[in-house]
Amino acid sequence: MSAPPYSYSYIFKYIIIGDMGVGKSCLLHQFTEKKFMSDCPHTIGVEFGTRIIEVCGQQIKLQIWDTAGQERFRAVTRSYYRGAAGALMVYDTTRRSTYNHLSSWLTDTRNLTNSSTVIFLIGNKSDLKDQRDVAYEEAKQFADENGLMFVEASAKTGDNVEEAFVETAKKIFQRIQDGRLDLNATESGVQHKPSQPGRTTLTDQSPKNTCTC
């Protein structure tokens, strides 16, 4: 039995990390289903979601591992970091403690992923304006100092959710084109799915470095 032809040319592995209750699963759900789960129970272990997006004319399948934020899962969820091409690190803009823990999440991520992993910081719950506990500028500065991409987003309204996932993919794709991310390296978090013989895709003809996005 032959495998069906792939409808995408790359697979990127993502992880979503951060303290419990910051809205990691809600962000995933908003991204994959375009819905907001108002009553979101604590994740057990890890959740998984996928979506195919288009970046620079390439169909890319995102395989997203959403880790539980509760401490008791921490030892085992660490093993999901390995081989992630993108890491979405989430805090809650209305709870300062979740922001204060970012440096420990970042240390973990840096230790457990590889140097080409793209880390994107998300300040979730931006819709709760009057409950804000962390200033945008402060988080932006933290992101800049640590070389992270950053947005404030809302899983509830969907604001900036798409952007966070897609911008991460664009950055990964850029790193592939730059040669900073080696597709052949194990644990790069990226799989290339060559197109089927006899099936032409637009990308076959286009020169490699014409991506302008």
């Binding site: 699963s25 759900h29 789960m37 009553d39 979101c40 129970p41 604590h42 994740t43 057990i44 272990g45 890890v46 959740e47 998984f48 395989q63 008791r72 030892a75 085992v76 093993s79 390995r82």
Partner: protein
């Protein structure tokens, strides 16, 4: 193969790491519940069904001996019991665990997703079985049996 929660494989180094911790604590007579759970969680994600079965036994023990007030740990065990059983194709048992879970927490999206995935696998396995056996009569029989199994599952 498409990666998902039912065919993702634990790395052997992780399995070894948590196995070692389990045996050290066991030998010292100081086995922590967290250590047992972490080891079981890795076992049910093994590529070998013998490991998965071992993980299921550990989870059943944890479930049996858990403090009744500790609801949050119980839901972890139920979830991974469902997952482990599904991975060794004990679909009916797996669905009993998801159903038990959903009775307590009806709106849980994570478990509902797992249940859907299990039902889908059940169906594909049934269809594959039919394709292997061939023959129209067998195919009809297969579908009836599958339908019966699903209906039985739903009515419980």
């Amino acid at each position: 193969m498409e990666e998902d929660i039912l065919n993702e494989i634990v790395s052997s180094e992780d399995l070894k790491k948590f196995e070692k911790k389990y045996h050290i604590e066991l030998a010292a007579g100081n086995l922590q519940r967290q250590t047992r759970f972490n080891y079981a969680w890795c076992l049910v994600r093994s590529r070998y069904s013998a490991d998965i079965r071992k993980g299921i036994i550990l989870l059943q023990e944890l479930c049996r001996t858990e403090d009744l007030s500790n609801e949050s740990s119980k839901r972890d065990y139920l979830y991974y019991l469902a997952l482990g059983n599904a991975r060794i194709k004990e679909y009916t048992t797996a669905l009993q665990y998801t159903r038990a879970f959903l009775q307590v927490e009806p709106g849980n999206q994570q478990v509902a997703t797992l249940e859907t995935l299990i039902k889908k696998k059940m169906e594909t396995d049934g269809i594959k079985g039919i394709a292997l056996a061939g023959g129209v009569a067998l195919a009809v029989g297969g579908i009836v049996t599958l339908g019966f199994a699903l209906a039985k599952g739903k009515s419980k």
